[in-house]
Amino acid sequence: MSHVSLFESENEELQVRCLPALQKSCERLGLELVKQSSYRTWKSDHGSFVGDYPVPEGYDTKDLGENAEYVVRVAGLDDKARTQKNAPYELGVVTSQKNPGSYAFMYDFYAGGYGLEEKCGDKAGKLLMHYRMECDRITAQEQGDEITFKEQPDGTWLGISDVDEDRVQEGE
């Protein structure tokens, strides 16, 4: 199998540019961000891809699993647990070809990435959601404000910030 897909939002607000925010969002989900180029896929356990799934446009088969700038992986695993057969796959943070200056996510979603999607969500949606939350938290802190986050029963999150109205009117 070779279900390595590219995940990238069309929404500019959800395009990944801020590594500190990505690192924080990983920590919130039991993941960790490390600096390395290779990430675990089907090929890691079987030596090669089967070639039964289209390679993301703009990439070559040889890129898959090897083309990351950073890697998101499940935290708390030792080297043995991380590399044994059917250990969680890993998510490559790759340079976006569509949106220069941004990162895209690339990972093998076969069998839910053997636990990866439990952490990062379908199509890495949970990771992207928490990334945006961390971006807003950083921005709020820059402006001297705070955001209180509350998880909703349906899995969405609300963030509430009380901003000084006088300061807003002054255009700060």
């Binding site: 990162y103 949606g125 899995g155």
Partner: protein, 62 residues
Amino acid sequence: MKIIFKYGPDGTYSQEGKDFAGTQCDRAMGPYEKRQGIKPGARNSDSDLADVEIESEQQREG
């Protein structure tokens, strides 16, 4: 004044209230930009990826 943000794991994101467009995150540059020497105007700043503390990167530089 309250600003309310709504985040969904399906890629939905919205906010109600004052425009809360980010500064820090939106200025951050990716490696592609840096390699190409692209200066994207408002996003260009001293705040870039070099500020990120990632263990293996620090070890490599050390």
